[in-house]
């Protein structure tokens, strides 16, 4: 059956992975054409690192980058402010030539997946 593969990664699975493991897994999957859905998303630092790694992997022929769909971070409570830990939110990452954002608001994201 032809189609676009979607990998839905649970929060539990993500929590067991180091940042680099997560980012490597995302990039490898996305480069092979898969759309990756992360239940708990990435931290801002991981998002920046993902962009950095993506730039290193762009080959200008087969892979031109990624499209990321996520909501803005919510402000945390006292402890999260003190220790700077912010939990990521549901995030969808795909190859830029397959995933296209249609509408993005703080509480609604509409995207198109091209076969």
């Amino acid at each position: 059956m032809e189609g676009v593969q979607l990998n839905l990664i649970s929060k539990e699975r993500l929590e067991k992975m180091s940042s680099m493991e997560k980012l490597r897994m995302i990039l490898d999957e996305v480069k092979s054409g898969t759309i990756v859905v992360l239940e708990s998303g990435l931290t801002p630092e991981e998002e920046a690192k993902l962009i950095e790694l993506t730039m290193l992997e762009i080959d200008h022929e087969n892979f031109v980058g990624i499209e990321v769909e996520t909501y803005p971070q919510k402000s945390g409570g006292f402890l999260s402010k003190l220790f700077g830990k912010k939990e990521g939110r549901l995030t969808v990452i795909g190859p830029a030539n397959k995933l296209k954002t249609l509408v993005k608001r703080d509480d609604l994201i509409k995207a198109l997946v091209k076969p």
Binding site: E45, A48, I66
Partner: protein, 211 residues
């Protein structure tokens, strides 16, 4: 990140404050074509009589970060001296085909794309060496882009002072209110860097936030 590292990071902000430098290093960030270099040129022209770099309608015109040290801004008798870093536009994708429609040859477009990817990496690396950020957004565009969300998230995580500039208010479809609604926790200053509209409000805000 481990708890110890997080605590260390938090306390580094306090140490930074205690040994506050004479002047802060301020990065100008944003997506491509938001008007970062136009704003840097406006600031330098107004206070130093110089420019930072060339601007173009072709995205990713700035592909290397540029540093200008010792720019003194005076507002209402208050003076602040900052170092300004004009960074390349951040993006999650760079396709050389996008440059072809501006009349570039395939070779030029590919070179520009390659340099642009290096520029994005450089811009991200600079985040670790800054004391504050001016985030330039195009007020005619949707502010909820991944680039804007990532930059704001990283600045908040680093506890850096931030000014969001809603640029291009001279254009008819500009909506700075949309940016204010998207990032209500931050100071948003609507301006036109090209025409100089409301630029004095931005200078006042720079003096307050980075002084």
């Amino acid at each position: 990140m481990s708890l110890i590292l997080r605590i260390k990071k938090k306390f580094s902000v306090i140490f930074k404050f205690l040994k506050k430098k004479n002047r802060m290093k301020i990065g100008i960030y944003g997506p491509p074509n938001a008007g970062k270099t136009t704003l840097a040129n406006r600031i330098l022209r107004d206070w130093v009589g110089d420019v930072m770099g060339s601007v173009s309608e072709i995205p990713h015109e700035t592909r290397r970060a540029r540093l200008r040290e010792g720019v003194t801004i005076e507002v209402d008798g208050k003076s602040v001296t900052i170092d300004i870093v004009d960074t390349p536009g951040l993006a999650t994708k760079i396709d050389f085909h996008d440059f072809l429609k501006y009349g570039l040859s395939e070779e030029e477009a590919k070179r520009r794309a390659k340099e642009a990817t290096e520029g994005v990496i450089e811009a991200i690396k600079w985040l670790d060496d800054l004391d504050g950020v001016i985030l330039v957004m195009d007020a005619t565009e949707d502010p909820f882009t991944q680039v804007n969300i990532t930059i704001v998230g990283n600045i908040e995580a680093r506890n850096l002072p931030l000014i969001i500039v809603a640029n291009k208010i001279d254009l008819p479809n500009a909506s700075p209110a949309r940016i204010k609604a998207a990032f209500p926790q931050h100071t948003v200053v609507p301006i036109s860097a090209l025409k100089g509209l409301n630029i004095d409000t931005l200078y006042k805000c720079i003096a307050e936030k980075f002084g």
